[in-house]
């Protein structure tokens, strides 16, 4: 069994990149707006079905579909902010987080039911012509599509980092995250920074969904699982550092691979959740501190 570990580690790293990308969006939204969107996983699911539809109906390559899915989910994020989450930002922090959690919960249920209506409850994945290609490195098998997904995930994280440090509004988003009142007094339209952050977070979810649909599989009920993965990564990595979040994703992927090898495949999920609960309880206040 231990002989399988190196191969498991490779696969763990590959999916860990997606965990990191999934967490980056949730972390951005939580860090900036202090809004906990538990429907983040459902947004990932929608991104995945976006790619699936584009592939099935128009034959668009899933990686190319990012060009369409990212702007579409940006717009979706802005709409969700205006329709739902923008309502709670006027409350003080504790109420804000709790109400946003409830709104996210309702949204998650609605999106899940909608997805079942639109795409049925079946599991789907995108099978491209190159789907089965693998590279052999030192006796290890690396699925090409998953490797490409990891590279794209890393590139998107890099792009996010650049946006937040170089772009004028990116800096404004960080300022609003640090101290929204001081940001207002600096002349920043904080509401607008919030909309932008939420839209960016949603589009990161959408992009992650595209990558999930091509290397792995999607179904209407993957939302909860991905929300939990993102939360676990945030707990591991903390808020505030984009690359730190990505690294946290890789760590979770590796931890899952190790535990699947040691305890058996079915316990892959449990280990992450146990770590999550223990860390959460050990640092109840300082958890999401920077």
């Amino acid at each position: 069994m231990i002989a399988l570990l190196p191969q498991q580690l490779v696969l763990g790293l590959l999916i860990g990149g997606l965990y990191g990308l999934a967490a980056a969006g949730l972390s951005l939204v939580f860090g900036v707006l202090k809004v906990l969107n538990v429907a983040h996983g459902e947004l990932i699911m929608l991104g995945g079905y976006g790619a699936f539809w584009l592939f099935a109906l128009a034959g668009v390559d899933p990686f190319a579909s990012l060009v369409l899915v990212i702007p579409a989910t940006l717009a979706l994020g802005a709409v969700l902010y205006w329709a739902l989450f923008g309502w709670v930002v006027r409350y003080h922090e504790e109420t804000r987080i709790k109400n946003s959690l409830l709104i996210g919960f309702g949204l998650a249920l609605a999106l899940h039911a909608l997805a079942v209506r639109l795409w049925t409850a079946d599991e789907r994945s995108i099978t491209t012509a190159y789907a089965g290609s693998v590279i052999e490195i030192a006796g290890l098998t690396v699925p090409l599509v998953r490797l490409a997904s990891l590279v794209v995930a890393f590139a998107l994280i890099g792009a996010l980092h650049l946006l937040l440090t170089r772009w004028r509004w990116g800096r404004a988003i960080r300022a609003a995250a640090d101290d929204w009142e001081a940001a207002l007094l600096t002349g920043i339209d904080v509401r607008r920074a919030y909309v932008l952050a939420f839209a960016l977070g949603t589009s990161l979810a959408g992009a992650a969904g595209v990558l999930v649909s091509v290397g792995y599989s999607i179904s209407p009920s993957i939302g909860l699982e991905w929300t939990l993965k993102a939360l676990i990564v945030i707990v591991l990595a903390g808020l505030g550092s984009t690359f730190g979040t990505f690294a946290g994703g890789l760590v979770l992927g590796v931890a899952e691979a190790v535990s699947a090898t040691v305890f058996g495949g079915p316990y892959r999920e449990v280990v992450g959740l146990v770590i999550f609960f223990v860390v959460l309880v050990a640092r109840p206040q300082g958890l999401f501190a920077r």
Partner: protein
């Protein structure tokens, strides 16, 4: 609780208890069992989630434990009531084991922490007991729906009674103080953790009993199904839509929920979740009092005009 409320409640329960003698349709009884179990589950959630204000997203764990223990003991030959009590005891024991840790978390952190707990249990049970649990042929032969119905009615009544008692008790007042402002409650000498644990014990005992009734009612199901997050979600939806932190809310919410679910299921499976998801968001944003608040307002309207204050 007013005298009129008690009288109304008792009358309703007596009427409901006679339903199996009058109506001999399985579909009606099944519908009522479902509604009663939903009432019990939602009302049990309401104690910690509504009165104490701690959104527990791992509630299914306690329902599942009650179901698992009851089913195992009952099929092994234990009388069903004893098996259910054992199920509730295990649910409470688990609650006490994790409650101290979970209640270190506040607000949304408590919610996601308990969500993780529930999932840990569900996945573990799914891995250890992957086989479907089906009643032995002898039990199926003697299966009586009316017994299940009376059991569900009893547990639903018990849960409503528990919350009615709680609402007027010192414990209930303490929980509401915690809900309004936990820091202030602590500062005024309310033993916050002790009260929360007490609430959790009552809540999980009822959830365990409801799970036991579920295990007694269903002919076959996967053991991990009773641990599924949808049980928690149902309880949260029903309680919020009916009116969170009220006695009547979960009852009203459950009737509305099951009615719509059954009605819509004829044409569209799961479509009720789309409606309830949207409704839930609308209630959180616009109408935090739920259906109960609507009902109160509607009743006050004409009376307020006729007799401003008698």
């Amino acid at each position: 609780m007013t005298a009129r409320g008690v009288l109304g409640g008792v009358t309703l329960v007596v009427l409901l208890a006679n339903v199996p003698f009058v109506i001999h349709r399985d579909d009606v009884l099944n519908f009522l069992v479902l509604t009663l179990l939903t009432i019990a589950l939602a009302q049990s959630w309401n104690i910690v989630g509504g009165y104490a204000g701690q959104v527990n997203l791992g509630h299914a764990a306690f329902f599942g434990l009650g179901a698992l223990v009851t089913r195992t003991l009952w099929i092994a030959g234990t009388p069903v009531l004893a098996a259910m009590l054992a199920g509730a005891a295990v649910a409470v024991a688990f609650a006490l084991a994790v409650g101290g840790a979970a209640f270190r978390l506040r607000g949304a952190y408590f919610a996601i922490g308990t969500l993780a707990l529930g999932e840990i249990l569900r996945i573990t049970v799914g891995n250890t007991l992957p086989e479907i649990s089906t009643l032995p042929a002898t039990s199926i032969a003697t299966y009586g729906l009316a017994t299940r119905y009376w059991l569900a009615l009893g547990i639903a009544s018990l849960s409503v009674l528990a919350v009615a008692w709680l609402a007027g008790s010192r414990l209930g007042l303490g929980l509401q103080a915690i809900r309004e402002d936990e820091g202030a409650a602590e500062a005024t000498g309310v033993g916050v953790l002790r009260l929360k644990l007490l609430a959790l014990v009552i809540s999980t005992a009822l959830a365990g009993l409801a799970g036991g009734a579920f295990a007694y009612y269903h002919i076959s199901y996967y053991p991990s199904h009773a641990f599924g997050p949808q049980w928690t979600f149902d309880a949260v939806l029903v309680t919020f839509i009916g009116g969170v932190g009220t006695l009547h809310g979960p009852v009203l919410g459950a009737v509305f929920y099951v009615l719509l679910k059954e009605y819509l299921a004829i044409r569209w499976v799961d479509f009720h979740l789309l409606i309830f998801g949207v409704l839930f968001v609308a209630i959180v944003l616009l109408l935090p009092g739920g259906l109960v608040e609507v009902a109160t307002k509607l009743r006050q309207l004409p009376r307020g005009v006729a007799r401003p204050r008698s």
